[in-house]
């Protein structure tokens, strides 16, 4: 389309809003309600331009003017300028003069556009409207109705993008105000985005309010480390304190949005409880602070002793999913080359087959969700475990007409835009899969939806009691569908990077299969020898430690006592080990059981890369210095290796990165300099990926039980970083169990009663909540909540009224 703007002819795709086309051509048009990621509403009237028509020039908003051939638009005529000044004067007549005390000052579109496009003075001498201010509309967001210019960005975001229409206009005309519904605060997982897109200081965030002025902030772009989508963020700091994260618009991943855990979950970085110096355990079980030399020497000596006595394969490693790829690679090399063991796992017995996650053939990208015709989601509730995937799938369904089939034991955040929802009991997944694949009976409609390709399947574990092999069977089925790609899902931080670095029993760095002699030989030619015994996974490692077959454990950013479903097993394993060393940020239930603890750096305190669930490698940036004497994981491991007599040769993070690019086949050619913008999806063209995993039907057996336990994660829980992020910690649902009302009636349980939930591995006394979205016979317990002991991962559960003595 040829559109002329201020005399310049532009080539514009049909239907593109003229305001966006103009901006891309360097012509800025003032606006407030317009946002490139929201549907245009033409409400604020600041973006008025003159459009030539046969009946003369028409004053029209440029955000709702969609490019058509031959349009001639003027943005700087006297009529337009008068209209702009008029609109800005109108906006300011009821806007309070709060700039000196308003968070937004300095990064405020109203300030900036008033200076650029408004009148020099206001002529208003009447009384402005007044409201009580601010009012809390949720635990995290405060509302100042006097400042609000009623642009509706927050309302539109909450409804259109997040699917949480909890905030809306009330009253009309000059009394219009933002309001929440009675008894329903704005407790959306995505509420923080409204603070970021509010063009004035009407919405402010509790963790940031009054903390800084924008011109005092040091800023760096980085990658979020909470979940595996790898959102692009900007970290804002002042005087070495991290004060704020904001979302950066990366079209490949998060498109500017963050969930509130990613956005506000940074306070742990500056927590007073951060480990600052190495700790060594005393005889009586308490810790004493120690110097690096002493702690490193002790660790190196004990590990060498044990390896020399019994072989390297009695030592295991857990963790590596919470650090950078460089940390993970160093850990992998440490275990293989220095210790001589393949017993290493970045997952906490709570994920999927590492080969499926790291190296599946026909892996989908997040962008593929936009162009699918149908999407199958059979895994966790994405709203709880991956905000970015949730928002992207919702957008695909609501804006692009993509049809969703969702399979889950209870309601999910996507249900309202789902074409076909299948609710089922954990344990019966294999039956459901067979019936769905065949299109039997009630599954015929869902099966028919999946006949229209391209199909993207997001597969994962719906809960921790479900057999992880089921996800592979689902993936195998999905890949028979037309033009199908699959996205095997695991949620923890940099787990994909960790697996790519070989932190899994059957993998070597760069997507090399340990059980393929040719692949191993090629790898060893560059890397050096690797042990040839079969590696244990996390569960195997813990069982081995408990039983005595394994004697020592290296934990890197891992908390198995809380993260492994059978936490009791993890506790026993750690207590039974002869020697345990932990690299961690805090003393946790796991690191407090170690013999030596080293203080580690967070992702904001070191340079490096991470890899997301697409295989996209992105950079994290060092923006603050770690407290005390913290060091990055790779450096601590290098020191230990050095003192064991086998240094790994790492001088800085970049040198680790360079070795990865040299040694790990799938990561060949990845240079830090290339990772600006939206990073690089590996393998790059020219690099090869030795392992291309074909999912196969695992023929998992169905398991049934009178009551089946659904153990699933919620966004907010009692995880380590949550515990130290004070703005968020109290938002976790806490100890509770969900029962279907009919099941509760059979058990004689009423809403709110204390009940005892018991499995073969443990028991918990928690209050009961009714949940009619559950399949009958399913009991849902949110995982890792304060006050809920570990229940293990068995499917069978009993529930009875009353508390155990």
């Amino acid at each position: 389309m040829k559109v002329t703007v201020d005399g310049r002819e532009l080539e514009v795709p049909k239907g593109k809003p003229v305001i966006d086309a103009a901006r891309e051509a360097g012509v800025y048009i003032p606006h407030f309600c317009h946002h490139p990621r929201l549907e245009p509403v033409g409400m604020c009237r600041a973006c008025l331009v003159e459009l030539e028509t046969p009946r003369g020039n028409l004053l029209t908003p440029s955000c709702t003017l969609f490019a058509a051939d031959g349009q001639v638009v003027h943005t700087t005529t006297p009529v337009v300028k008068k209209a702009q000044e008029g609109v800005l004067e109108f906006l300011l007549i009821n806007h309070p003069l709060d700039c000196p005390v308003c968070d937004k000052g300095g990064e405020c579109p109203l300030q900036d556009q008033t200076v650029g496009y408004g009148p020099g003075e206001s002529r208003f001498v009447e009384e402005k409207r007044h409201y009580e201010k601010p009012i809390a509309i949720s635990d995290l967001v405060l509302l100042d109705r006097e400042r609000c210019i009623l642009c509706a960005r927050c309302v539109r975001f909450a409804d259109e993008v997040a699917g949480d229409p909890l905030i809306e206009f009330a009253a009309r005309g000059n009394n219009t105000q933002i309001a929440t519904f009675p008894d329903e605060p704005f407790s959306s997982y995505f509420s923080g985005n409204t603070v970021q897109i509010c063009p004035v200081g009407a919405l402010t965030a509790v963790p940031y309010r009054f903390r800084a002025r924008p011109w005092d902030l040091r800023k760096a772009e980085s990658t979020c480390h909470h979940c595996s989508a790898g959102e692009s963020i900007e970290i804002d700091t002042s005087q070495n304190d991290v004060l704020r994260f904001t979302g950066v618009d990366n079209d490949a991943t998060n498109q500017g949005w963050l969930n509130d855990k990613c956005r506000f979950g940074f306070e742990f970085i500056g927590s007073k409880d951060r480990l600052r110096v190495p700790l060594i355990k005393n005889e009586d079980g308490t810790f004493r602070e120690a110097g690096w030399a002493e702690a490193l020497d002790l660790t190196a000596r004990r590990l060498k002793e044990i390896a020399d006595a019994s072989g390297g394969d009695v030592i295991a490693g857990l963790g590596g999913a919470r650090g950078t790829n460089e940390d993970a690679y160093a850990f992998s090399k440490f275990m293989r080359s220095v210790i001589g063991s393949n017993h290493v796992d970045a997952q906490m017995d709570d994920g999927l087959d590492p080969k499926l996650l790291a190296a599946v053939d026909r892996k989908a990208t997040i962008g593929d969700l936009d162009t699918a015709t149908s999407i199958l989601v059979w895994g966790p509730d994405l709203k709880e475990e991956s905000g970015t995937l949730y928002l992207r799938v919702r957008q695909a369904a609501q804006k692009r007409g993509v049809k969703l089939v969702v399979v889950h034991p209870r309601r999910t955040g996507l249900d309202d835009c789902t074409e076909q929802k299948i609710t089922y009991r954990p344990g019966q997944g294999p039956e459901v899969l067979r019936a769905l694949a065949a299109g039997d009976g009630e599954y015929a409609a869902a099966r028919a939806v999946l006949d229209e390709g391209p199909v993207i399947a997001i597969v994962g574990r719906t809960g921790l009691t479900e057999d992880p092999r089921l996800a592979e069977s689902i993936a195998a089925f999905a890949l028979t569908l037309p033009d199908a790609k699959v996205m095997p899902f695991a949620r923890r931080s940099n787990v994909y990077g960790a697996l790519d670095m070989g932190l899994a029993p059957g993998l070597l760095p760069g997507r090399v299969a340990l059980d393929d002699p040719d692949q191993v030989a090629a790898f060893e030619a560059v890397f050096g020898a690797v042990p040839d015994h079969e590696g244990r996974d996390a569960r195997g490692i813990l069982e081995g430690l408990e039983g005595g077959e394994l004697k020592a454990l290296v934990m890197v950013g891992a908390d198995p006592v809380r993260d492994v479903p059978n936490g009791a097993l993890a506790a026993r394993a750690l207590d039974a080990a002869e020697f345990t060393v932990a690299l961690d940020l805090f003393l946790t239930d796991s690191s407090s059981r170690a013999d030596v603890v080293f203080p580690a750096e967070t992702f904001a305190e070191k340079e490096g890369t991470t890899t997301n669930l697409e295989g996209r490698v992105q950079k994290v940036a060092r923006i603050v210095a770690g407290p005390g004497q913290t060091q990055p994981d790779w450096s601590i491991l290098e020191e230990i290796a050095h003192r064991m007599g086998t240094p790994m040769g790492f001088e800085d993070a970049a040198s680790v990165g360079a070795e990865i690019a040299r040694v790990a086949p799938a990561y060949q050619g990845v240079e830090w300099g290339d990772l600006r913008g939206d990073g690089v999806v590996v393998p790059r063209s020219g690099a090869c990926q030795p392992l291309r995993y074909q999912p196969a039907d695992n023929d998992v057996a169905s398991v049934s039980a009178p009551l089946a336990l659904h153990l699933a994660r919620t966004l907010y829980d009692d995880g380590v970083e949550m515990r130290h992020s004070l703005s968020l910690h109290h938002l976790a649902p806490g100890a509770r169990v969900h029962l279907h009302p009919a099941d509760a009636a059979t058990l004689g349980v009423e809403e709110g009663d204390e009940v005892t939930v018991e499995t073969a591995s443990g028991a918990a006394s928690v209050p009961a909540t009714f949940d009619a979205s559950l399949a009958r016979g399913v009991v849902y317990v949110p995982f890792n909540q304060f006050g809920t002991p570990s229940l293990g991962d068995g499917l069978e559960v009993t529930v009875r009224k009353g508390v155990d003595g």
Binding site: V41, G42, M43, C44, R45, A46, L48, L59, T64, V79, K82, A83, G86, V87, E89, F90, L91, I93, N94, R123, F124, E126, E127, I149, L150, F169, A171, R172, G173, N174, N175, T176
Partner: protein, 432 residues
């Protein structure tokens, strides 16, 4: 009875106590046209209505037949009758709803049959409980006789009518805001394009929105033909027109008149002249949105759409508000502007903020705290809502409500500037 031809009010004048019942309606020839319409083709019906020259009676004055012909193919399509009558000075639909609801219902049947509509709605303003009750009763009577519901009049045409009460907002008389309200959303106008009701209306389906009076004309047109309707009234303004005359006249009320008579005739003959022997100062010709007329310029103009447009105002909904020489025009203007400020939906900046500001300035002038600059300030605020203060108005807004608030301001500035300045210089209202 009346000296003028009667189409809409004939029945209610001849049967003052029970013209709303179905028995009287049918005795007087009602529901013949509906049967005739069911025997005609859609094209013929639309053509007949077009050639009758029937224009919308809601205020916008758009050709009804042409509006019907814009309707996109049904998927399904809907009919919504706009009974939100909220323009100050308008009270004609109220009489039609209370005293001849079957005439409207029959008109709805005809409209529906002409446009393949099987579900129709009547949106009645919430402040009209009695008219709503009368309409509900009439609908029940029609359903009982098989004139609505499954297979009306023994044919296989289905038609259901639902009444919905508004929540008390003038803006819901705007057709897209009405549709939003009917859908359960906030009563806010939609952007046009793309949300023209004929293409994307109720539930995003093709929808006709017609005023009560417009629809009530259809039984006559179908029964007597387009030419008979054209013979009443004017070449350009066919048929009759309901005028709601209020204010300082001796005989305020609703009058069914042909267009083409003069304002003098309307005010001094039909409505009995000014009360108490006072003089005529000014009048609003077509509802609160219309610029005002004055005796020195407009008294002998014919009341036609064309003449009103040429004089810089509009016939609108036929609401004539007459003010005598005891009226303070500043106070009157403030009252009108206050109405618009109160009724603004709040979506767009110039209307929401601008009408409030206009109201505040006018009130200050009336209270005696007006400043020298306020007269020009008022005009500039108005200009920022309606650039150029032109007629028909240009808009910086989403809908014409904001620009409507400008009419009283331009009117008093044009014709009564001295009185405005008297307030400012005198520090108070000279009429107090």
């Amino acid at each position: 009875m009346s000296a003028y031809p009667q189409v809409l009010t004939k029945r209610m004048l001849e049967h003052p106590s029970d013209s709303n019942t179905i028995s009287v309606y049918e005795e007087t020839g009602g529901y013949r046209s509906a049967r005739m319409a069911l025997d005609m083709t859609r094209d013929d019906l639309v053509e007949m209505v077009k050639s009758s020259g029937l224009i919308g009676r809601g205020g916008a004055g758009f050709s009804a037949g042409m509006k019907w012909s814009f309707l996109a193919p049904p998927r399904p399509s809907y009919l919504v009758v706009n009974a939100d009558e909220s323009e100050p000075g308008t009270f004609k639909d109220r009489q039609l709803l209370e005293r001849d609801p079957h005439q409207m219902i029959e008109g709805m049947i005809i409209t529906s049959v002409a446009n393949e509509v099987h579900e129709a709605f009547i949106y009645i303003r919430g402040e009209y409980p009695k008219p709503a009750r009368r309409v509900q009763r009439a609908l029940a009577e029609a359903y009982e006789k098989g004139y609505l519901g499954r297979g009306i009049f023994g044919t296989d045409y289905d038609l259901d009518v639902t009444v919905h009460l508004g929540g008390g907002a003038y803006i819901c008389g705007e057709e897209t805001a009405l549709i939003n309200s009917l859908e359960g959303r906030r009563g806010e106008p939609r952007l046009k394009p793309p949300y023209f009701p004929a293409a994307k209306g109720l539930y995003m389906m093709p929808t006709i929105v017609n005023n009560v009076e417009t629809v009530s004309n259809l039984p006559f047109i179908i029964e007597h033909g387009a030419d008979a309707y054209k013979a009443l009234g004017d070449e350009a303004d066919t048929g009759t027109f309901l005028f709601s005359v209020s204010g300082h006249v001796a005989k305020p009320g609703n009058y069914e008149l042909p267009r083409g008579i003069t304002w003098r005739e309307l005010i001094f003959d039909v409505a009995g002249g000014i009360r108490n022997g006072n003089g005529l100062k000014t009048w609003i010709p077509g509802g609160a949105s219309a610029p005002w007329f004055v005796p020195s310029e407009h008294l002998d103009d014919p009341i036609t759409r064309e003449a009103c447009d040429k004089a810089g105002s509009m016939l609108g909904s036929g609401a004539v508000i007459v003010m005598d020489d005891t009226t303070c025009v500043v106070r009157a203007a403030e009252r009108v502007v206050r109405f618009f400020s109160h009724e603004s939906c709040g979506q767009c900046t110039p209307c929401r903020e601008g009408t409030t500001w206009e109201e505040q300035v006018l009130r200050r002038i009336e209270m005696g705290a007006g400043r020298e600059v306020d007269a020009d300030l008022l005009l500039d605020i108005a200009d920022n809502i309606s650039p150029g203060l032109a007629w028909p108005p240009k808009m910086t807004t989403i809908c014409p409500l904001g620009p409507s608030s400008v009419s009283p301001i331009t009117s008093i500035t044009k014709y009564f500037k001295d009185e405005v300045m008297q307030h400012i210089h005198g520090g108070g209202c000279p009429f107090e």
